[in-house]
């Protein structure tokens, strides 16, 4: 995932949802989890409750727990170092770190990737949010509102190569679409989590091949 354009897209999405430039930047500093930030801001912008926005973001971020497990042996050190390093626990830093074999290099890869993305992500979030907040009327004329679904689709795309993931995506999408006219905003996104029930077969398929 290209970090810079994605950061700009998040800044735009945050501004479009009514967040100030500073709020958008605070999300990127303190949450620092691309797709979860995007999801929370989308739920908020649609009029969803704070609880729905937080829950949507955390469900997407459950995977950070797995990243932490993958990196924990490499991130040895005093507790305050581990606490600081943990903020960089995202897909890319875990991928770069896991590609190394020695603990020292795993930590080095993780930190280099994490820090460079942290810097780029925060800078580009600010740029995106500031650019849109100064010219909010261009959102519909320039089709900027369509960049948000496109960004979600681009995030989803690589997962669709796998059958189980694809079934979850279809089921989650159908649940959400069905609930739009019935439930308060935000609920369709949360209820889509039930889509994971459609992906339950892969472990057995994999074991048999």
């Amino acid at each position: 995932m290209a970090v810079a354009p994605f950061g700009v897209a998040f800044g735009i999405a945050a501004a479009d949802a009514g967040l100030t430039t500073w709020q958008a930047s605070a999300f990127s500093l303190f949450v620092f989890a691309g797709s979860a930030q995007f999801a929370a801001v989308e739920v908020l912008g649609g009029g969803g409750s704070a609880v729905a926005a937080i829950a949507a973001g955390l469900l997407l971020n459950l995977r950070s727990l797995a990243f932490g497990v993958a990196m924990s042996t490499a991130l040895a050190g005093p507790w305050w170092k581990r606490a600081a390093w943990s903020q960089l626990m995202i897909d890319e830093s875990t991928a770069v770190g896991s590609a190394q074999t020695e603990h020292r290099w795993r930590r080095y890869g993780y930190l280099c990737a994490g820090l460079s993305i942290f810097a780029t992500w925060n800078l580009t979030t600010f740029v995106g949010a500031a650019a849109l907040s100064s010219s909010a009327d261009v959102v519909t004329t320039w089709g900027i509102d369509a960049t948000i679904p496109a960004a979600f689709l681009a995030l989803l795309w690589p997962r669709l190569a796998d059958g189980g993931q694809r079934r979850c995506a279809i089921a989650g999408g159908l649940v959400a679409l069905t609930l739009i006219p019935i439930t308060p905003p935000g609920v369709p996104i949360l209820a889509a989590a039930l889509g994971v029930l459609a992906g339950g077969q892969r472990r057995r398929e994999r074991a048999s091949t």
């Binding site: 967040l19 932490g68 681009a154």
Partner: protein, 101 residues
């Protein structure tokens, strides 16, 4: 106000998920069910987010030119376009549709 609440809640919750293993669980594996859920939840939620953000505005159903933008984004993704191209194609297709309708 709501945005600040979300910032605090999501920030604290996300940090908890990130730091749980390095600070508390060192080396222990996740229960298979949790690992499986963590792996599959993004697909279900991202699909819902893509669709809901296409067909709603301010929480209510509204079908408009964004649907053309989403279709154009899908075409760009099939053609293996990079993220920035996918997003620009979606915006351009939507803007164009609005201009001609």
């Amino acid at each position: 106000m709501t945005a600040t609440l979300v910032l605090i809640g999501l920030g604290a919750g996300t940090y908890g998920l990130k730091a749980a293993a390095p600070l508390l669980l060192s080396g222990r594996a996740l229960p298979p069910v949790v690992a499986r859920l963590a792996d599959l939840l993004p697909a279900a939620l991202l699909a819902a987010l893509a669709l809901v953000s296409t067909v709603t505005r301010d929480g209510a159903a509204l079908i408009d030119a964004r649907l053309v933008g989403l279709a154009a984004a899908a075409v760009a993704l099939v053609a293996r376009a990079p993220f920035i191209v996918v997003v620009i194609v979606a915006a351009a297709a939507t803007a164009l549709t609005r201009a001609v309708t």
